[in-house]
Structures are given as structure tokens and as C-alpha cells.
Symmetry: C2
Subunit: 284 residues, 2 copies
């Protein structure tokens, strides 16, 4: 596996691949890789001749008081895992490589408001602007044919599809299903913050969402009821609920009666750890 | 000269050029071409194997009450001039091609505030955000090796250099000196709005800026005095002044005593027509 920190190192590798006519797939990550990330790398392998994984803990997508400082950084383990997953190039840019003009006063990308200001965006103001800014920059630096994102961050996936549509990137977005632990908990770097009791509570997030998704699939007209019941169950499990919502899968708008493709999404706190998950509304 | 309206038509041409190993230069315009634009095309010819000129009157960079509706659209004459200038491809996107998700709720680019909120930006709120959004989209669609901009829109040139730096575009920005009419008036599509009397007044814009530039070159420490004198002379000529300012050439910050490279910039109204111009501060 090759490695690049600067734009020049990155471009040297990319040039050689381009000359050889090889296609590329990008897997943007913040590191602390788990099986969920490795599923993205595996999907990338199927989509292109060469796989580039980026690791960058992007300050622009963390809010005041969020966990930027304590976000786990485990580069050595990450490298080993990526070698094993047959990743071709690891791009670990410095802050200077990503924000050469500084972050304070710079050109930024603003995500489409209807998507960016609801659910996660309503709870984490500016978060998706930080995401699309770093992803746009990664697209410009790497110019991949494909970029791979996980359905775990479902709203982010839609925000990025809109980035590609609106700004005209020639990048295909591939989505990969959420990878879950034995008890169904979606894998997340933040799970490591949980103690045993908090983890037990966290397991209910998937259970409740799966149940809600089944109910919606059975009787899609009673959405507010489904949402209220799900919220009550999450709270009973000891979780604090930021939101639990059934939305139209393609744009997260509030569904009308005849929308066939729905998704239930939630964000909860288990102790001091914020967790998100989502499920397609079909019988499980 | 080939022509493309849609992304697919554009990409078909670009693919064939790329396969042939040909480099490309983009000249983004809003049409109604004059000698100033043709100088950009000529510069583009020197910079790359193939020249693409885009013509798109971008609604996102016009404010409320500005001249979007009456902005001159002269496609047939433009085409003829571009043929003569040996432009290889004319890209005339539709609104649907440029803003497929609509303009109201879409991913946008926001220009770096320190550059975008002063001078032109202070007088035309949101203008540079509209500019960088459309230019980012053009860069993504065309992926040129070089893009050519005129020094007439000096602040825009700097805003676009920041776009390239901050978002990491692999595009070289080439700047071309302002083309002027016989009396020194900078060529602009908006000059056609002027009647004879207004045009006579407008001629003073260049005269006063050139004089101010010379004064600064001779005695760079008396900048506020130079600005005040220039403003008075413009007003005497019957022009209404939005601003006249001597700034650091590289970032338009207020100069300190030892900044060697200065630029004087102004925006004035002659009747109902807004005109801008600028000059490097050296003896003329």
C-alpha cells in the first residue's frame, strides 16, 4: 500500500494510474477503522481498479463542544487493516494539505438547506457544511471515478448525492449497507466510548428502529404514532432521544400518504455518547 | 467550432480530447462578447491545446433589482466572434444543465469572507457566492487544465484564486490585462447602456484611476488623501461613487506602510449604469 500526505505525493500516484488507464474509487474516512469501513473498502475494490482510502479527522464538521479532541486516532492499526483489505493508497493529509488557506477565512461549501437543516443538521448546526466542504476538496484532489459512503450516515449520503448533483461532479456515489455487531448495534467509532451498561441500552436503538420499520411497512399511514411509540421505547431503555423520524427515503421530506420508499432514522444519547442509526421501512 | 448545451454533449467532446492527450483551457463568460473576452480566448489559445468558451448568464450572481433581465444576450454574434477567434468548443448550458436541482434549495459555494464581503461584495451582497458556485460547477463539468479570467474584474480574479486554493482544484488560473477602448474606458458589456453624455463621464473613471495609481507609485504613504481626491474628481465628473480604494494587490486588505504591490479599485454609477475598473499602482 502506498501512502501520501501532500497533494504532490497524491498527484504523483494518481498521474501514474491515470496514464495506465486505471479507474479509482475513494473511501473517505476519519480513521479508527472498523468492519464498517472495511466493507466500504471491499465495495470500492469491486467498483474500480485502484482503491484510495483517506483518513482525516475534519475539524470543520465538529461543532463547539463536540468530540473533535477526543475522537479516536489509531493510525497504525488503521494502516494494518487497510493493507489486509488490499487498499492501494492511503491518503492522510495534514491540516495544511486540506486547508492551505486556513479554516477561519476560506471558501466553503454549504449543503442544500432542505436536507442539511433537518434531523442531524438541526442537532448539529453547520455539520453538513463541514462535511460537504471536506468532501468537495477530497473530490477535487483525488478526482475519483467512484466514492463510497456507508448507509449508517444516511442523511450524509443524501447530502453528498446533492453535492454531486448540484456542483456537477463526475463522481459516482456508491452506498454500502450498515455493518452491525452481533446484537445488531451499528458499528461506529463512537461505540468505544460506551461502558457495558450504556452498550446494553444502545442495543435497543437497532431493536426499536427495526420494529418501527416493520410497523411502517405493515401500516404506513400511522407514522406519528410509530414515531411516538419508538421514542417512548428508546426512553424506557434509558436513551435520551434527539429525534426519531420516519421520512421519505430519497430526500428525508415528511412523507405523504402514497410515498412508497420510507426510512426511519434516529439519534440518541447513551450516557455522554451520541449514536445514530437508520433502517429502510420493510418487514424484517 | 463545436457546441454543447448538455453535460453529456460536453463530456463526449472532452473525452475525445482527453483520449488524444490534449490539454484544455476554459474561458467562462456571460456572453455579449467584446474585445476583452476575445483577449481571454487568445490567451487561452496560448495556454492549452483546446479552448472552451462558456456562455451562461448566471442568475445566482445577480442581486435583487440588478440587471439580470436586461443583461444583453447576443448569441449569434458571439458565435461568429468565437469562430473567428478559433475557439474549439462553445458551451452554452441551459439552466437545467447548470442547476439541475434548482437554484432555490441547492448546494452552494460561499466565497472566502475576507475577500467576498468588501468593495464589490459589500455593494453586491451574495454576488461572489454566486460567482464561485457557478465557477466551481464549470470547473467540475469541464475539468480544464487552465481557466482564464480578466483583470477588469480584479476582485473576482482573487476570489477565484482563493476558490482554487481552498477547495483544491487542479486548475491553473491565468489573468489577462484589461482591454480598453480608444479613450481608455475598460470594455464592458454594460457600456452599451450608456448614452453619449454618460459615456463622456465614464471616461473619467480610467483617467482618475490612472492618476491615483501614479500618485500612489510616487508617494505611497498618503493613501487616504489619494482616495479622497480621486472620489472628489469622480464626483466632479458627474459619477456617483460606490467606492474608490487603494488596496494590497494580493488580497485587497488595507495596505500597511511597506506593502510594495498596491492596486486602486473603484465602482461608480454613470446614470443608471454601474461600472468598475482598477489599476496597478505604478507610474503611467
Amino acid at each position: 500500500m502506498r501512502q501520501a500526505h501532500t497533494r504532490e505525493q497524491l498527484w504523483a500516484v494518481l498521474r501514474s494510474w491515470r496514464r495506465a488507464g486505471l479507474s479509482t474509487a475513494l473511501v473517505p474516512t476519519m480513521g479508527n477503522l472498523h468492519e464498517g469501513h472495511l466493507a466500504l473498502v471491499a465495495a470500492a475494490r469491486e467498483q474500480a481498479d485502484r482503491v484510495i482510502t483517506s483518513i482525516y479527522v475534519n475539524p470543520a464538521q465538529f461543532g463547539e463542544g463536540e468530540d473533535f479532541d477526543r475522537y479516536p486516532r489509531t493510525l497504525e492499526t488503521d494502516q494494518r487493516q487497510l493493507e489486509e483489505a488490499a487498499c492501494d493508497l492511503l491518503f492522510t493529509p495534514t491540516d495544511q494539505t486540506m486547508y492551505p488557506g486556513g479554516l477561519g477565512d476560506s471558501t466553503r461549501v454549504k449543503a442544500a438547506p432542505s436536507l442539511a437543516n433537518i434531523l442531524e443538521g438541526a442537532n448539529r448546526p453547520g455539520h453538513f457544511d463541514g462535511v460537504v466542504t471536506v468532501v468537495a476538496r477530497l473530490f477535487n484532489l483525488v478526482t475519483p471515478d467512484v466514492a463510497v459512503f456507508g448507509e449508517k450516515d444516511y442523511q450524509q449520503l443524501l447530502v453528498i448525492r446533492r453535492l454531486v448533483l448540484d456542483l456537477g461532479y463526475a463522481v459516482r456515489i456508491a452506498a454500502v449497507a450498515t455493518v452491525r455487531g452481533p446484537a445488531g448495534l451499528a458499528l461506529s467509532s463512537r461505540n468505544r466510548y460506551l461502558d457495558d451498561e450504556q452498550k446494553t441500552a444502545a442495543h435497543q436503538l437497532n431493536v426499536v428502529l427495526q420494529e418501527a420499520a416493520s410497523q411502517v411497512a405493515d401500516a404506513p399511514t400511522h407514522l406519528p404514532e410509530v414515531e411516538r411509540a419508538a421514542q417512548a421505547k428508546l426512553e424506557q431503555a434509558g436513551l435520551r432521544v434527539d429525534y426519531v423520524a420516519v421520512r421519505r427515503a430519497r430526500d428525508l421530506a415528511k412523507p405523504s400518504a402514497d410515498d412508497p420508499d420510507l426510512r426511519v432514522l434516529a439519534a440518541v444519547w447513551s450516557g455522554a455518547t451520541r449514536l445514530i442509526d437508520n433502517r429502510a421501512c420493510r418487514p424484517y
